[in-house]
């Protein structure tokens, strides 16, 4: 494979990946609602800023993602460590099953379960069910990432620490965790992304108070062309892009 040819091809694929999003961004500044350019305008961004429901949905998404990420990362890291020490067929099998279950199945099964359970508990669908669902499906991702890193960790380091008098937990805390830090960070980012982006599962288990950003976006997308949606997309892409670039800079340092 000639290097030049590959490079040209790579440019083509990158264009395929990024140009649609760029086009969305360009047309978010279109004064007209249709696909004919009719002048530059920030009208849709202004509409965005005034849409109370959309902003509330974004806030909900953030809260859910942060809480779910925190819980999933902690539980997942601990589980990965335990699995690394000694495998457990049940847990591994369960995590694997959770990874391969299609989203729609996870969603409807959680809905069915919650509706059944709520006959006995005095609860209803809401933020808590969404967060629980998100932790559930993020867990496996966290375990996979952390476990992969653990596989290249030298057990001897922990044993050395224990020989020097540390308890098992202290060894874990002071020797293993720092080594795992990049993987834990990566797992957290992955869990955060998966949570922020989820539509199918969230829409099924959300309650009255837990409209999330993807749900709001879907409601807009269903109605056809909406330049406000272009504006939302651009804001999200720009924001996340900035986040990724910043994290790259921090890592490279």
């Amino acid at each position: 494979m000639r290097r030049g040819g590959l490079a040209v091809y790579a440019v083509g694929v990158y264009a395929f990946l990024h140009v649609p999003l760029l086009i969305l961004a360009v047309f978010s500044f279109n004064a007209s609602k249709f696909t004919v350019w009719q002048g530059f305008s920030l009208h849709w961004y202004a509409a965005l800023a005034q849409d109370r429901d959309l902003i509330e949905a974004a806030g909900n998404s953030l809260i859910i993602a942060i809480v779910a990420t925190a819980l999933a990362t902690v539980c997942g890291t601990l589980a990965a460590y335990a699995l690394w020490k000694r495998a457990s067929g049940w847990i591994s099998g369960g995590l694997y099953l959770s990874l391969v279950t299609p989203e729609i199945v996870t969603g409807v099964s959680l809905l069915a379960f919650f509706q059944w359970a709520f006959r006995f508990l005095n609860l209803r669908l809401g933020m808590h069910t969404v967060i629980l669902a998100h932790v559930g499906f993020s867990l496996a991702y966290v375990v996979v990432v952390v476990l992969a890193r653990l596989r290249s960790f030298d057990r001897g380091l922990e044993e050395a620490a224990m020989d020097l008098g540390a308890t098992e937990f202290t060894a874990f805390r002071t020797v293993t965790v720092p080594y795992l830090a990049p993987a834990i960070a990566a797992a957290a980012m992955l869990a955060f992304t998966v949570s922020i982006d989820d539509y199918v599962i969230t829409s099924l288990v959300a309650g009255v108070d837990s409209q999330t950003l993807p749900m709001a976006i879907y409601a807009l997308a269903r109605r056809g062309v909406s330049p406000m949606l272009n504006a939302v997309s651009t804001v999200i892409v720009a924001g996340l892009g900035a986040l990724v670039l910043v994290s790259e800079r921090l890592r490279a340092r």
């Binding site: 494979m1 290097r3 590959l6 490079a7 091809y9 790579a10 990158y14 990946l17 990024h18 649609p20 999003l21 969305l24 047309f27 696909t35 004919v36 902690v74 601990l78 460590y81 335990a82 020490k85 000694r86 847990i91 995590l95 099953l97 959770s98 990874l99 391969v100 279950t101 299609p102 989203e103 729609i104 199945v105 996870t106 409807v108 099964s109 959680l110 809905l111 069915a112 379960f113 559930g136 375990v143 996979v144 476990l147 098992e168 992304t193 982006d197 539509y199 993807p214 976006i217 997308a221 062309v225 272009n230 997309s233 892409v237 996340l240 892009g241 986040l243 990724v244 790259e248 890592r251």
Partner: protein, 275 residues
């Protein structure tokens, strides 16, 4: 050692019990029951929901889901491999190129699907441009068909194929390819007989990471398929909402999972373990 380990595993075990085991058990139970008058489930236990799948109508849906997922996977593979090769060989700029691949993945899947709605509609950008250029007279029906769904799937899942391929290619020893060239193989032969077999684990991982979600896709076929392209995911969703047949939806879910699991088990190899 055991106590700490059990303590560490407990939260994950509890989570799995509540968010996976119990829900799936309920779904299994529901799949054997009868639908309520306006929704929900009722007592008579029956296998009818499963026997309903013998109807060629639903077999067609399963088949359609499989071939669309397969097409998307193959396309992803073909598109991703040269790109992964490029990134793996790009030396210092690797991280930058990887980030560029991952960046779209970070944006919402919904938004990426909507981007294609925007482009493919009859009055969308592609048709408008083609009409302006005089290439066509009437707009092309680009949206609301199988092709649009496959395109949307490829666009959404391409990063999932690039990453495992890149991971395997990056770990591959370059001297193997050099040795092959030294022994007189042309570049294509080296690629076909040395590089590809060596990155088989990455190919398998990527294929699974793309095929399984595509098999159960709901959003893409809903938005880009115009609710005419019914895949298993749509069938399940329909039963739990407008068709009010939870037991049948539950049975369809389990059929979907069975197909996915079957393929995964068939593709499994000794020693390869993610978990």
């Amino acid at each position: 050692m055991n106590r700490l380990r059990r303590f560490f595993l407990a939260p994950a075990a509890a989570l799995l019990a509540v968010t996976l085991a119990a829900p799936l058990a309920i779904v299994c139970a529901y799949s054997l029951m009868t639908r309520g008058a306006y929704g929900g489930v009722e007592r008579p236990f029956t296998f009818e929901n499963y026997t309903r799948f013998w109807d060629p109508l639903y077999g067609a849906i399963v088949w359609r889901s499989c071939w669309i997922a397969a097409a998307a996977t193959v396309l992803c593979l073909v598109l991703a491999f040269p790109l992964a090769l490029f990134i793996a060989r790009s030396g210092a700029r690797k991280n930058l190129y990887l980030s560029l691949v991952i960046l779209p993945f970070w944006t919402s899947f919904l938004i990426r699907t909507y981007a294609w709605m925007f482009l493919l509609r009859d009055t969308g950008l592609i048709n408008t441009l083609l009409q302006e250029l005089g290439a066509i007279h009437d707009p092309l029906p680009l949206l609301y068909n199988n092709g649009a769904v496959i395109l949307g799937l490829v666009y959404g899942f391409l990063p999932f194929m690039v990453l495992p391929l890149y991971a395997t290619l990056e770990r591959m020893d370059p001297s193997l390819a050099e040795a092959s060239a030294d022994l007189g193989a042309r570049p294509f032969q080296t690629l076909w007989r040395v590089t590809l077999p060596l990155c088989a684990p990455g190919l398998r991982a990527g294929s699974i990471l793309v095929f399984v979600p595509c098999l159960g896709t709901y959003l893409t076929s809903d938005l880009l398929g115009g609710s005419k392209t019914i895949l298993i995911g749509n069938l399940v969703q329909n039963q739990f909402t407008s068709a009010r047949d939870w037991p049948f939806g539950a049975a369809a879910s389990l059929v979907l999972m069975a197909v996915a699991m079957g393929l995964l088990l068939a593709a499994r190899r000794q020693g390869e373990q993610m978990l």
